[in-house]
Amino acid sequence: MLRIEGLTKTYGEKKAVDELSLHIRPGEIYGFIGHNGAGKTTTLKSVAGILSFDKGEIFINGSSLKKSPVECKRQIAYIPDNPDLYDFMSGIKYLNFVADIFGVSSEERQKRIREYADAFELTKDLAQPISAYSHGMKQKLAVISAWIHSPKLIIMDEPFVGLDPKAAFTLKEMMRALCDNGGAIFFSTHVLEVAEKLCDKVAIIKQGTLIKSGTMEQVRGDESLEEVFLELEAE
């Protein structure tokens, strides 16, 4: 589903991501952990096609992101760490805007908006302007907009921040359902307990370099993910 090969991204003199390679298969929830400034967001933004990178290749379902960015973006959805949406639109207008861009039919979008907005208890607020939304409501809207076009791969940067426990639970269910249907998810988180329970695989990044990756069992062994992470950070 997603293959990252030797991804390198520099900001001036600083290497934010250095020769990072990863492979995410269909059905996998892949967690991405690391300290602040380790290169998580840069990697995720590169995969989402927002940032250009200096070296390496990113393939989405076999298509090169460099060569066919639009085709790749059609298959993915991205949720940033801070849901800066179009404040001048109402929630429903934003969802329709996203659905139009991704070519979702009128019937299909209506069905999905109903399903996800009900699940997140956002239906009654859909006509309100986004500028009136709380952080959590914006995050829910960003999640619905990501799911509205049934992407094959969803990239999320700290998706649980701002969500109430019920919404966080709903999101976890949606993530699992998408992967059970052959999709894949690549997301960053600082909540290691969530990563441990939710992820099939996990990658740890430190100073732009991937230091450990694999299935949850391979990475943590007999220890908890937190212990492994802290040990690796201390090295």
Binding site: E71, K73, D84, M89, G91, D100, R114, A127, S131
Partner: protein
């Protein structure tokens, strides 16, 4: 604490001069100097020069009639109107809309301190606008009537009193705008309508001012006595400029009191206004089937939604829509007389009327520059178009199309009205219609290209990309330059070439330039957008 906040506020006000808003890097010294020289030229030479000539025209007559106080009352009035008018929206967005309001309010900073630091921003802008009137007015008076220690000291106090009064008035108007924005539903349009009414009033006064001033000078003694009798406060106010210490002390004390009262009232209501979510009514969501749009259609609809949601954006970048329609109506009603008058002024040459009409339409169309700040306005939501399966060139086309649609339609109306009003051949009438339309395409593409190559992505209020960004300045002044480039040479070579070939030549030039710029927009411009 106030010092820290003032430093932050000043850094924000002058940030554009020291830092490149696109790269967020410090500008070179040479770059800073050039920017300050350009700014100084605009304020001192262009605006200052204009008001120096106004002051010269008024000062001689009134001081000769012994009504120097009337001169100062008049010039102060102009300064107050210009200063308050120029900074009312800045007051609203600067006081109540900055994105760091929540951050500052969460800190152990008294609300009054936050307001004072914010007010400095408003004060500077108001002082700048009123200063271009007051400073020339005072220098002219000192040159004409003679400078004494007394009238210089009082003159400086007069300047401070006027700027403080502008601040008070701006605060009151800004507060009214803030209240409106909290209470009303269709507030964007209501604010625009109110502002347009204000602009209309402003220009009505502006065009009538010359007659009024002439009348005032001719009957200075009569008016002077009348004002002294009926509005003694105004007389006393004008006396400040003439060096009356008692009047200066009285007005300084009254202004200080009013300012303190304003800050007190603002600080009481500030917290509520700054933290209130606007009243959005009780919009209820009703599920309904929507019509699907193409990606381009969706992007264009989004651009319209952004434009119509912001009074600031509409007023600063879309006045040409109204102005072109107004021009068209004017031409239909008074066009024939007006054009005949111009023809007579140019020795009976109707070609000058046609050329002037073209230039005026083109000039008015440059008031529409909504494409220039469009990329900058994406700000933190830039990730949305960048992560979507649309090519950057499609995003830029949608931004250009907004300006095209909003300018071409009124331009077509104005151009048809112009053609009706003009007494010339069919071919020339046709070119008077075609050329401004082609120019509209050219300026839309030009604005879009400048907007994507010189964006201002880091901002705390939308006033910065809309009013103070390099892209908007270049689009606006560049537009004027392109109109001048078209109109001025005709004065020299028009007689030899003839109007029709001249208009056709420029239509071809602007069409070719539009095609070249469009090509650049969808290639280099799209690359620039992807790199943001």
């Amino acid at each position: 604490m106030l010092k820290v906040l003032l430093k932050k506020q000043l850094t924000e006000v002058f940030r554009g001069y020291f830092y490149n808003r696109k790269t967020n890097k410090a500008r070179s010294k040479a770059n800073q100097i050039i920017l300050f020289i350009l700014f100084a030229f605009l304020m001192i030479v262009v605006l200052g020069g204009t008001f120096t000539s106004v002051s010269l025209g008024v000062c001689f007559g009134l001081t000769a009639a012994g009504a120097g106080w009337l001169y100062f009352a008049l010039m102060s009035g102009i300064a107050v109107v210009l200063g308050a008018f120029g900074s009312v929206f800045n007051t609203f967005s600067g006081l109540y809309l900055p994105k760091d309001n929540d951050l500052l309010l969460s800190m152990p900073i008294p609300v009054k301190t936050i307001i004072i630091s914010r007010l400095l921003n408003v004060y500077l802008l108001g002082a700048m606008y009123s200063g271009v009137v007051m400073l020339p007015a005072m220098f002219v008076y000192w040159a004409v009537a003679g400078a004494t220690v007394q009238n210089v000291i009082c003159g400086l106090f007069l300047f401070l009193i006027v700027t403080a009064f502008v601040l008070i008035l701006s605060c009151l108007l800004g507060w009214v705008v803030a209240k409106i924005s909290l209470k009303l539903k269709r507030k964007s349009f209501i604010v625009v309508l109110l502002a347009l009414a204000g602009i209309g009033l402003y220009y009505f006064i502006y065009f009538k001012a010359q007659d009024w001033i002439k009348d005032l000078i001719a009957n200075a003694v009569i008016y002077g006595d009348s004002i002294k009798g009926k509005a003694y406060v105004l007389y006393l106010f004008g006396r400040i400029g003439e060096g009356d210490f008692i009047a200066t002390a009285l007005f300084a004390a009254a202004t200080a009191l009013l300012l303190a009262l304003t800050i007190f009232v603002l600080s009481r209501g500030f917290l509520k206004l700054a933290t209130s979510a606007a009243s959005f009514g009780k919009a209820k969501y009703r599920e309904k089937k929507v019509k699907e749009k193409s990606a381009f259609g969706a992007l264009l609809t989004k651009e319209f939604a952004r434009f119509t949601s912001s009074p600031n954006y509409m007023l600063n970048c879309g006045l040409g829509v109204i102005a072109l329609f107004a021009l068209g109506v004017f031409l239909l009603i008074k066009g024939a007389d007006f054009l005949a008058l111009i023809g007579t002024a140019f020795g009976g040459r109707t070609d000058f009327s046609a050329l002037l009409l073209c230039a005026v339409m083109m000039l008015i169309s440059t008031m529409n520059d909504m494409a220039a700040p469009s990329v900058s306005l994406e700000g933190k939501s830039l990730w949305i178009p960048q992560s979507m399966p649309v090519e950057a060139k499609t995003v830029l086309k949608a931004k250009t199309s907004l300006q095209l649609i909003l300018t071409l339609i009124p331009m077509l109306f104005a151009a048809i009205c112009a053609a009706v009003a003009l007494q010339t051949s069919i071919a020339e009438k046709l070119m008077v219609c075609v050329l401004p339309l082609i120019f509209t395409v050219f300026s839309s593409v030009f604005g879009s290209l400048i907007g994507v190559t010189r964006p201002t992505m880091v901002w705390t209020t939308e006033t910065i990309p809309i009013k103070q960004s390099g892209a908007v300045m270049i689009a606006l002044f560049g537009g004027w330059g392109f109109v001048a480039l078209f109109a001025v040479p005709y004065l020299v070579i028009g007689y030899f070439i003839g109007l029709l070939p001249y208009l056709v030549t420029w239509a071809v030039i602007y069409a070719a330039a539009s095609a070249l710029l469009y090509r650049r927009l969808i290639t280099k411009g799209a690359e620039a957008f992807e790199r943001l």
